[in-house]
Symmetry: C2
Subunit: 343 residues, 2 copies
Amino acid sequence: MATIWDVAREAGVSPSTVSNVIHGRPVVKPATRQRVLEAIAKLDYHPSRVAQGLRQQTSRAIGFLVLDPNPRWPADPLHAEVLAGLSEIATEHDYSLLLDRPPGNGQLTARELLQPFRSGQIDAAVVALAGTSDSHQHVLDALNQAGVLFAVLEREIEGECAYSVMGANEDGAYAATQKLLRDGRRRIAFLDSTQMWPAIELRLSGYRRAMREAGLEANILISPSPDWTSAGGATAMLNLLARCEREGPPCPDAVLAGNDVLAVGAMHVLRERGLRIPADVAVIGFDDFEFARYVDPPLTTVRLPAYEMGKRAAELLIAHLEGHPASQRRHVLPTELVVRQSG
Amino acid sequence: MATIWDVAREAGVSPSTVSNVIHGRPVVKPATRQRVLEAIAKLDYHPSRVAQGLRQQTSRAIGFLVLDPNPRWPADPLHAEVLAGLSEIATEHDYSLLLDRPPGNGQLTARELLQPFRSGQIDAAVVALAGTSDSHQHVLDALNQAGVLFAVLEREIEGECAYSVMGANEDGAYAATQKLLRDGRRRIAFLDSTQMWPAIELRLSGYRRAMREAGLEANILISPSPDWTSAGGATAMLNLLARCEREGPPCPDAVLAGNDVLAVGAMHVLRERGLRIPADVAVIGFDDFEFARYVDPPLTTVRLPAYEMGKRAAELLIAHLEGHPASQRRHVLPTELVVRQSG
DNA sequence: TGTATTGATTGAAACGTTGTAAATGAACAA
DNA sequence: TTGTTCATTTACAACGTTTCAATCAATACA
């Protein structure tokens, strides 16, 4: 493998000059530059990023740190979309993207967490947390305390070098509820889970605001399954239908689900009960997962801009690293109501 | 940030000794080891992987190289599952995983392709190709010629340091067809696309074999849409139904789709035509994408073991790097017929 | 002709490790 | 006492860059 010395020898110059050529510094004179470039091409030379990293004390890499006990996390559509955005921007700025899965699945020590930073593998990280609002608080605290640069998704954070990138969950749920109201729906239920994710709480709050403004009563339905499965959504829907058929009040004419998976479970139950979607009951989901367009009828849903969130996070971190920290620490990206046929 | 020198000073030994402790070499005497470990803990020292990489001429990282013009490729369920498997095994062996998206979307030069290898960023790569069988052949040739270590997914390859990891596409399609035959279906159609992916050709061939063995005629239906959309599947299905209703022979009583997305499109058309699934027409997909379980009725499909493929690819590469190249170059992982309700 | 002034190039010292060969020191035998 | 082992430890030279001060050549000026 050719080194900068080989190139230097081939071109009859010193390594310093080669370095200057590589970095496009305007000091070298055109004739020399030409000779060096030819030598580089001839030897198929690529500067060692490892040596560069060592010398310049920076890795030009950002990490994607996912704290999710599920080993198949990249298959989660949200994470995957974020990853796509990160990758897009990182490539554009000639940064590498390191997938960083903390070892084990137990409680993570600050030491393990900081390892990729401390060992010079990454200059910054994008952090995605799966789980309740507080379960990973200590992780954020540790990162903050260490003074490393990071951006956290779908979660509020304050700290010196901490950015927060979120979707407009509250707005999205508000808009979806308003759409249902405009369509004449009045008995709108919100389908939640016992598992408290900060993002979902915001969705619930958007729904509440819209209902309050319309002078209607909120009707919140909690999936008993703690892990956001469609089976959980089905059970919750089933319970609701059973209860309202038995004791009233009249069954809902619309369901706003905390996310698409729950929505799909609910739709399944509605169809089985012979209720037409959306004629009898409208259903709106949240997230716009890939399958939303494939269910029958295609699911109306609030799109979470996960791809854009990934892009934004990468942009913020890279800008910060290059000496242009953004003034805003908290970035909220707009959600969008994708109207298909279910509601 | 503490270096090995700081630790050495703190413990009153030389850097060499610290290095020996870090690597668990049995030469250092217990008392010294103890002192060094305390110093490491006290200074919160992490060895610089960059310096290690430079010194040992290896990065302990493997790259995931996806040649897909679509910038949102990580959102493709197949790539995501593979990534999950890679990440799992890489972490287990203390390897890093570098997401490697080639710059631009035009034709890729060998130089660009090899950059991460040559610059010492990765020791090996897993290559996923989207597209027809030949469109990326030059890429594989370039990698082979450069003599770098890599594993390619869902594609045959020969070469010194090239592994090939595939799902049992032919077997899977054969098994699915047999299941349909066992259920009494006789007029089974295969739903293909004009876009030729090697994996899909194998599926087609499995279907053909089963039909031939049953003494039945193959009936292949080509989606006119070149990019595997469900709309393409719908159009193809529509065309088939129109034709058989018009001129016979009798319409199919089962459809085996080249993948799940096509299957969903076909199901949509069948339902619209008032045909019951699976009573009138059974539908079986291929891949077992996440949404397969969410469509209505839940899709019977052949699961492509993408997660396992990712794991296997990582295992092969890491073993090879550690001096244990596998004797087998070509690894075929079993597919599994996941029977849900559509067929 | 000698001296600044500029422009282009280079030498040498890092950056933080690790492997090798050599050094140290203790224990022991002659 | 003097070698001879053996178990520990260490000095030193890489690994491939970049940076900064220093050099050198050529031109401009007095």
